[in-house]
C-alpha cells in the first residue's frame, strides 16, 4: 500500500529537486553534470510509474521512450564531458565561477 503511483511521483519529485540543487548550488562542473544525470533519472522513474499504472497495452512503448531517454542522456553526458575537458584545458579549472570572460 505504500508502493503506489503517488509515492513514486513524490520520489521522482524529490530526486529532481536534489538534482536541481546540485546544478544550482555547486560550482564544481563535474558535480553539476552528475546532478543533471540525477534529474534525468527522476524523469525516467516518473515515466515508468505512469506506464505501470496507466499502461495497459502501451507499457512497452513507454519503456522504449525511457530507453531513448537513456540513450540521449548518455550522448549528452559524453558531449558535456568533452566540453568540460576542453574548458579545463583553457581555464585550468573546473570551477564554474572562473568562466567569467563574458562578465562585464
Amino acid at each position: 500500500m505504500i508502493f503506489n503511483l503517488q509515492s513514486c511521483l513524490i520520489l521522482s519529485a524529490a530526486l529532481f529537486a536534489i538534482g536541481a540543487y546540485g546544478v544550482i548550488a555547486r560550482r564544481n562542473m563535474v558535480v553539476m553534470l552528475l546532478s543533471v544525470e540525477i534529474m534525468l533519472n527522476a524523469a525516467n522513474l516518473a515515466l515508468a510509474a505512469f506506464a505501470k499504472f496507466h499502461g495497459g497495452a502501451l507499457v512497452s512503448q513507454a519503456q522504449i521512450l525511457i530507453l531513448m531517454n537513456m540513450a540521449i542522456a548518455a550522448a549528452e553526458i559524453a558531449v558535456g564531458l568533452g566540453l568540460l575537458i576542453a574548458v579545463f584545458r583553457n581555464r585550468k579549472s573546473v570551477d564554474s565561477a572562473r568562466l567569467d570572460l563574458m562578465k562585464w
Binding site: 511521483l9 540525477i38 507499457v59 522504449i64 537513456m70 549528452e76
Partner: protein, 172 residues
C-alpha cells in the same frame, strides 16, 4: 505478505536512491560524488524492476552505472584535479537559499499529488500481468514498430561520439 515485501523493497531502494543523490550533491571531492552516483543508479535500477520494467533495470545498470559513470571517471582522471584546483564552493547563504527553492519546487509537485491522494485515495498499481513489461514484449515492440527510433538513437550516439572526440582531442 507479497504487498508488504514490495512496500519494504520500495522504501529501502527509494531511501538508497535519495541518500545517494544527496551525497552526490553535497560531497566535497568529485570522485566520491561519482561513486555515490553509482549507488543511486543501482537504486533506480531496482525501482525499475519493481515497476515491471526488468529490461530497463538491466539497461539502467549497463548504460548509467556501466558507461556514464565510467566516462565520468575517465574524464576525472584526465582532468587530474588536485586538491587546490578544486576551488571553493558557493557561500552558505546561497546554498541555503537554493535548497529552499528546490524544496519549494519539489513541494510544487508533491503537494498536488498528496492533495489528490487525500481527495481520491491512493492509486494502486493494477495487478501485474507477467508478460506486461517483459523483455520479450519490449524487444518485439522495439524491433517492429520502433525500429526507426532504435536506429536513430544509434546515429545520435555516433554524432555525439564524433563531437566528443573532436572537442576533447589533443590540439597541437
Amino acid at each position: 505478505m507479497d504487498q508488504v515485501l514490495t512496500d519494504i523493497a520500495f522504501l529501502a531502494f527509494a531511501a538508497l536512491t535519495v541518500g545517494g543523490a544527496l551525497f552526490v550533491v553535497t560531497g566535497r571531492k568529485p570522485f566520491y560524488c561519482v561513486m555515490s552516483l553509482i549507488v543511486s543508479m543501482g537504486g533506480v535500477a531496482a525501482l525499475f524492476y519493481l515497476l515491471s520494467a526488468p529490461f530497463l533495470a538491466a539497461a539502467q545498470v549497463m548504460i548509467y552505472a556501466g558507461s556514464v559513470v565510467v566516462l565520468f571517471l575517465m574524464a576525472l582522471m584526465l582532468l587530474g584535479l588536485k586538491d587546490e584546483e578544486l576551488g571553493s564552493e558557493t557561500s552558505a547563504v546561497y546554498r541555503m537559499y537554493s535548497a529552499l527553492m528546490c524544496l519549494l519546487f519539489a513541494a510544487a509537485v508533491a503537494v498536488p499529488v498528496v492533495r489528490m491522494t487525500l481527495f481520491n485515495g491512493v492509486s494502486e498499481f493494477p495487478a501485474a500481468d507477467p508478460r506486461a513489461g517483459s523483455a520479450a514484449e519490449f524487444g518485439y515492440e522495439v524491433f517492429s514498430s520502433n525500429a526507426a527510433a532504435y536506429d536513430l538513437a544509434g546515429v545520435l550516439i555516433l554524432a555525439a561520439l564524433i563531437g566528443t572526440v573532436y572537442l576533447a582531442g589533443r590540439k597541437k
